[in-house]
Subunit: 214 residues, 2 copies
Amino acid sequence: MPPSVQTRREKQKAELRSELVEAAHKLVQEEGYEGLTIRKLAKRVGYAPMSVYSYFADKQDILFALAEDAFETLARRIEEHSSDDPIEALQAVMTEYAAFGLGNPNEYRTVFMTEKTRLPEGRSYEDMEEGNPAMKVLISRVEACVAAGKLQGDPRAIATMLWAVGHGTISLLITFPFYPFGDPQAFVKRMCDLTLATLSTQNVPPLTETPVNC
Amino acid sequence: MPPSVQTRREKQKAELRSELVEAAHKLVQEEGYEGLTIRKLAKRVGYAPMSVYSYFADKQDILFALAEDAFETLARRIEEHSSDDPIEALQAVMTEYAAFGLGNPNEYRTVFMTEKTRLPEGRSYEDMEEGNPAMKVLISRVEACVAAGKLQGDPRAIATMLWAVGHGTISLLITFPFYPFGDPQAFVKRMCDLTLATLSTQNVPPLTETPVNC
DNA sequence: ACACCATACCGTACATGTACGGAAAGAATT
DNA sequence: AATTCTTTCCGTACATGTACGGTATGGTGT
């Protein structure tokens, strides 16, 4: 079908939106995270403050757009760190994930530490999972481990459990920077090893099932 | 020493502070979490809005005071759920901790999911650890397990790792309520079992040390 | 050509957290 | 008793997020 008026308009709207995201990005770079305010952002692109709301539902939405960019960078960085050994490749995911979280605490927080009361704009959780490129890599590398016989069970369940461990570790490190975790990277590695050690010795059933014992 | 003027004043100040906390508590009960505003709170106790700041550094400080109350309740609830078997007693901590987090997401968030840039009022992390009664119980039950030979290694390190796992699990459940974790309690149990299984098979060195293997 | 309407943008207004300086009152010191 | 200091409380002011309604502009249907 030819580019209708409708689609041209949508394209223009998308362009303006990404222009706003870019401006927001610069603002954060220049003035830090809390230097990003709706009014400043609007002034930057020559709009009235309220006009920003034509492109973003609320401020959270802007932060989320920024964070999504960051997570694409993360995914790329993860894919640069791979290995022939599927377990090592999996460990690399955790390591890079942790390095990213510790290096970009604000982005990490907006994506993983603010409640998702509503999924953003009618997406299912699957879209969300596919939407987060980092999570996508995690799952695929878990699948590789399962395929290689290094892990056994349901890949999604394994990935979710790894996610929980990784997230717990990173978010504690971010939230309690003064707590004596020792070297952050070492702590991450320990947690990661701990989890993989057990996961590799047992079959992991899918998540919907309730475990048998007790 | 006799109660000086100084101490009487401090006592009165503390009373007024807890009066404010109580009022805040009622406000939250009546109007929900975001119904708690400085202005409403001040009006409730007959002060001008700014006077609240004589008793609390900022709004976060109020939320924290509320959350501390909640965590004392949690600690009491945990101590009601014990067991002769130290491992079971430890599992009970995790179970109650999870139930609490899922049942009081707001309190959980303010305590464990908002950055602690500064420790509140010159406390060390140890005070903070001692200050959180739930964490205190966790550590003591870990120590019991170590004493009974069910776990081996540094109790603080073990407790911290358990904390990381528990926190990761709970905060994901809170943050992504729509993600298909399956039954929350079952997921928590799985994570807990997973961790304890491995921890029980290996010696856990203190946190300050870096693990030997690469 | 005309009326209609969706869309994009804006102006105003409000509730909120909180910085700042001031006032009042009581304690401490002289 | 007079003065100075400290503590408590407040009034004002500002930046912020955002709700609401208005307006203009350009495309659509008659």
